[in-house]
Symmetry: D3
Subunit: 157 residues, 6 copies
């Protein structure tokens, strides 16, 4: 006879059951940035980074990561994305990454947007680390989401 009780108490990890949720349009925007030395930033801007085209590679890595999200984050549901868009911006001592994901589904795409940003930033680190090992990834956060029962949400200014 099994005694399941104490092994499956409230605290056990589990996927949320989305079976009763409605399939609605959902979008999410996330962003983050990586700070770096002037030297590294200039090399990336000029296309002189040692492993080649940094932002083109980071963009593909970010898009592909969004599609792998449910394989990376244990309790995420597998989702069929309608779109993922990744863009970059140069700041004074940093490069920013913004990702937008959308689909019509029973659960949101926040994690897909967050994963795209994270892997995009890691790829920049990988391709620039020969120039500056001290680059720091920071400020990865959700900017906004729409759709679903919890409704729209925007990060505070």
């Amino acid at each position: 006879m099994s005694t399941l009780s104490h092994l499956d108490a409230e605290g056990a990890a589990h996927m949320v059951n989305v079976g009763d949720k409605k399939s609605t349009l959902r979008t999410a925007i996330a962003s983050g940035r990586i700070t770096m030395s002037a030297n590294a930033l200039t090399a990336i801007k000029n296309g002189d980074a040692p492993k080649g085209d940094v932002l083109g590679t980071a963009r593909i890595a970010a898009i592909m990561a969004a599609k792998k999200t449910s394989d990376l984050i244990p309790l995420c549901h597998p989702l069929g994305l309608d779109a993922v868009d990744v863009s970059f911006g140069y700041e004074d001592n940093a490069i920013s990454v913004t990702a937008t994901a959308s689909l019509t589904a029973k659960t949101g795409v926040e994690m897909e947007a967050m994963a795209a940003v994270s892997i995009g930033l890691l790829t920049i680190y990988d391709m620039g680390k020969a120039l500056d090992k001290g680059m720091v990834i920071e400020f990865i956060r959700l900017i906004a989401k729409t759709g679903g029962k919890s409704g729209d949400w925007h990060a505070p200014e």
Copy 2:
């Protein structure tokens, strides 16, 4: 006849050829943290987060991500890790993640440690976002590396 020249200029993305490098012991330590509301932090500490055991799940996600690094970061070499270790710390308004990776190989394990930290933090975000969508991932960086031609490196204080 092909005219390869301008398509494969210096700037094209490419894996670094590590064929001539020596196989040596290499280690890397990376860390990062995720800031959150007192409410979310307390729930995680108390095991009351809505998807269950946050740090246990994040630890497994981080370890598995380290093993997937070359599938996530386009120009990383596939590596056979000897060890990955992931630990967490509670801060005042944040949880920190530290990952240590090691192996004997021709190239370093910085990206494996960085990937473990990043996916560990994303998993915490995923499991806590019903409590606080405004959590922010920050300060992901390499703490130290040892081994290889470029030698030891420590992040500045």
Copy 3:
């Protein structure tokens, strides 16, 4: 000219075409167990297994395996799970694993539940094998399914 006939006789492996099936709610429950020495069972119960938290790790492995099912079983359709739940029970000389999977789709989730149980049990083996290499995985079977054209089914007592 191709002569396809004998190469594609009835016996060739193929995915069943589910294009004409209706999308309905489907659930599946599977279970199995792993027998082990009293020594190994006590260590796992007490949290003293050499690789750490056995059931927490096995649970995550089981959930992630359910999501990978169509990548593991050649003729399974890729499915977007609504939920997967994994629970454990202590028996006299064994640990049992039960997995429940559900979704609304054109085909059933039996294999997702069976895969979750199998990988959960393999993970327990991996984490306990330093204590007892003679552990045996047994009695992996479908307990029940609901939905779909073939209707409900329950394993005989």
Copy 4:
């Protein structure tokens, strides 16, 4: 402040947003072939190839590749296939592979059929290369597609 403009010009790689497309029945057929020496072809026909059953293995590889398409081709959408069918034909100095894929979705399954053919042919190469390293894969193309806004299409004779 970010200056996103020149980094995200028209030319940046991106997934097409299929959010506004209708979910309709879509099918695609692709084919290709691999030419080889009479010696290699005879061995494969007779089941004497050094790694064993060539076409049975290539068929499974092709089916599994169709399911991995969105993980292989960076800008493909993840799709839940209804069916994939793979068949082979013997030609005078070649083996041909044909794959048919179908589903009801917002975007087409051309790439799934093309990927199945390509990986099926690569698997034949792998299993026959000890007999003939000079085998050549050729004429991989879309034969026909149906469904979607762009309608039906057939390859010219």
Copy 5:
């Protein structure tokens, strides 16, 4: 300041560090079986199962699963297998699967052999479940291992 102590107590899941182990030849043999109705067994033997060639498909699934082991079992090390061999046997009311794996590495291949057996059996279940949903997978166990610090081991009779 982090207070890592109680979060990383002895019980936390972790990969064993194999950095100090010697790279030696290691082999493992595992087996298991799936019991089924006479009807299902006859159909499989005769090549009449509804999804086609059962054992050919299960063999490929088993081999591919061995290569995915470190992606399935959270604390397994990624290993570069030298060989995997999978064989089947017909019993009175069952089909048995045996897998042998080998490599020269710092850690053993027991889990690769166990994973091959498990996924091979699940594939048989998948391909036969339209004939008999009550099939039961049982007796998955390690038969023998050689090599490594813990030396040779054989399952008791």
Copy 6:
């Protein structure tokens, strides 16, 4: 009692056991091309293809595919690549792809180079198919290999 004999006859698919082979430097070069309309070729050259930067994306897809080879081709050994290099050439009515792979291992890297070429070409097809669905992938072949017991090999002119 099992009767393994007829199920595991010579013809069964199996990985070649490379345990007794020497680890030596091995390289492989493969190439292929995709023919297309003048319209499509011009759009790709000018950076006007509808999904964005075609060759940059195809290059990353090709490199990542090389790393996934053992997950795509059932009987390939998992290998730790030292380098993969992918280049493109414009022909009159086609784009050619060449991939070079190398490592020090017990078995060759031909399939890694062939897989890189195949997935690179499929990616070009995917990104150009809105311009020309009739593009044809052809002439994928091994150009040369070095190392290993079978020695050097070059494709006949």
